[in-house]
């Protein structure tokens, strides 16, 4: 039932309301310098300021906090239990309440933490975390069990991771509480269920991130022991990487997040599929290469065979013969050509030495000489003839016969003309030549002197 407020305005603007609330909050002395205990959620540093949410240690309640120029000496982590001092302020523009922190003190995890440490030590002493008990996680599981809440983010993360990478896998989700009082029992039931009623190859036990106490079920002794007893390998996947719980220590493998657990489960199968494809391609490629090599070899052999076939050999021989013929005719031609050239040369030289020319010279000379001879001869002849004629005339003039006609005679003895009386002796026959004949006489007297004593 609405209370009719007479002073209430009929209609507020947003700004009117937020301004009003701001005044209300900031005027309230109860909200000045208050101390708050809580758990730090998602701290983030921006410049010199620290932003985080402070969560109630028991109830589901949170408030935003900002620590301007915060004290860096205090290490503030997600999940830290802290005591903060500050003022409540209201931001009229965003319409939000925030605690403006002035002091912060880490109060640690207190009793709970101490108990947990003791339990961890005890279980460690017992050997529950020993690596010798760790079972191998199957690399190619086809059936996976998950023990988690069906309402959490973890189950969705795991399924998304698995099915985006690899389709051929069965996932059995055992839904249980993952926080609160019943959680440890239900988690143990889930592990038991897969170990008995519905065998799987690997079990993922876990949940998404949360506050320290939200993860406590996975720190419970019964869950740790149940994981230890499981015949089936267990992957623990609780919260984020920085969240460590005892389940992580006892499990056969720790996944840093539920998503990581999904990766672990399918990564090998996924890789194997990729590898198989790769192998198929490689084998095909190698085979093709081998075939091509063989083909190439066959082609080469065929070529060589063709090269050495009788037809080819004959053709080659014919070609050789042609070549030799060609060479031969070339050589002969060359020789001929050379001989021809030599001949020409000799001819030329011979022609140069042609006796014809010498002959003509000689002939000319000869002609000259014979002409000169003839002329000389003629000259001589004429001279001689002239001399002869002169002589003849002289001779004719001197002819003794002509003298004889004038009364002279020639006396001969033994065919010798007598010029002296000494040539004859008395008794010798002598012949006297007269102009019209001869007289033979015998010498009977000789006398020297030419006086006509006779």
């Amino acid at each position: 039932m609405m209370i009719n407020n007479p002073v209430a305005k009929k209609e507020w603007s947003v700004y009117e309301l937020t301004s009003y609330l701001k005044k209300k909050v900031e005027m309230d002395v109860l909200l000045k310098n208050i101390y708050l205990k809580g758990e730090v959620i998602k701290p983030s540093v921006s410049g010199e300021h620290l932003y985080f949410e402070l969560k109630d240690l028991e109830y589901d309640a949170k408030i935003k906090c900002v620590f301007f120029w915060f004290d860096k000496s205090v290490e503030i982590k997600h999940g830290s239990k802290v005591l903060v001092k500050g003022n409540v302020i209201f931001y009229e523009k965003e319409g939000i309440i925030e605690l403006k922190v002035s002091e912060i003190t880490d109060i640690g995890l207190g009793e709970l933490f101490v108990k947990l440490k003791q339990l961890e030590e005890k279980l460690r002493q017992e050997g529950l975390f020993d690596s010798k008990y760790k079972k191998e996680i199957p690399r190619y599981p086809k059936k996976v069990g998950i023990v988690t809440s069906k309402n959490g983010a973890a189950v969705r993360d795991i399924l998304n991771t698995i099915y985006t990478r690899f389709e051929n896998i069965q996932v059995y989700i055992y839904s249980c509480s993952v926080q609160g009082q019943d959680a440890p029992y239900e988690i143990c039931e889930g592990i038991e269920y897969f170990n008995t009623a519905e065998p799987v190859e690997v079990i993922i036990v876990g949940r998404g991130g949360g506050a320290f106490e939200d993860l406590m079920a996975f720190n419970s002794e019964m869950v740790v022991r149940k994981i230890f007893e499981s015949k089936i390998p267990v992957i623990s996947a609780v919260g984020h990487e920085r969240d460590y719980v005892l389940s992580d220590f006892v499990a056969d493998m720790r996944a840093i997040t539920p998503t990581n657990a999904g990766e672990i489960v399918v990564s090998f199968q996924n890789q194997a599929l990729e590898k198989l494809n790769e192998y198929q391609k490689s084998m095909k490629g190698a085979m093709e290469k081998t075939f091509n090599m063989v083909k190439e070899k066959v082609r080469m052999l065929q070529y060589k065979l063709n090269q050495n076939s009788p037809t080819n050999t004959i053709a080659k021989r014919a070609q050789d013969i042609d070549l030799y013929c060609h060479k031969l005719s070339f050589a002969i031609n060359k020789k001929l050509h050379e001989a021809h050239r030599n001949l020409k040369n000799f001819e030329k030289r011979l022609a140069d030495r042609n006796p014809e020319s010498r002959l003509s010279v000689a002939r000319t000379n000869f002609d000259n000489c014979s002409r000169r001879l003839e002329e000389a001869f003629k000259k001589v002849f004429l001279q001689k003839e002239f001399a002869y004629k002169v002589n003849l005339e002289k001779l004719i003039a001197l002819n003794p016969l002509n003298v004889l006609k004038r009364g002279y005679s020639i006396t001969l003895h033994n065919s010798k003309i007598l010029t002296t009386i000494a040539q004859v002796n008395n008794g010798d026959e002598i012949v006297t030549q007269l102009s019209d004949g001869i007289i033979k006489s015998k010498v009977f007297f000789k006398q020297e002197g030419a006086e006509n004593n006779v």
Binding site: R139, Y140, K142, K143, K150, N151, G152, A153, V155, R156, L159, Y163, E167, N168, I169, Q170, V171, Y172, I173, Y174, S175, C176, E186, E189, Y193, A197, E198, G208, Q269, A272, L273, K275, L276, Y279, Q280, S282, M283, G285, A286, M287, K289, T290, F291, M293, V294
Partner: protein
């Protein structure tokens, strides 16, 4: 061959496949050897593929209600079967 080979472990098959691929890629094989290896490789590939794909995607949700375990196949409706609330 098939029955005998069917019993081969997936990992062994993969290892053998790797060897086959390496031998084939070395290329120092006769054609007959290569063909033989290739055939073995193809067989192994098929076996491995069969092993990997031997299972169909299946999502089953198990809940304990009133002391009874109820299995619900939510393969085709994963996100209907899984609440979105934290």
């Amino acid at each position: 061959m098939c029955e005998l080979q069917r019993d081969i472990k997936f990992e062994d098959a993969m290892k053998r496949l790797e060897e086959i691929v390496r031998s084939l890629e070395d290329g120092n094989l006769s054609l007959e050897e290569a063909i033989k290896l290739y055939e073995e490789g193809i067989r192994l590939t098929k076996i491995c593929n069969d092993i990997l794909r031997s299972v169909e995607k299946r999502v089953v949700l198990i809940e304990k209600l009133n002391g009874e375990y109820i299995q619900d196949d939510i393969t085709n409706d994963i996100y209907g079967g899984l609440g979105q609330k934290e």
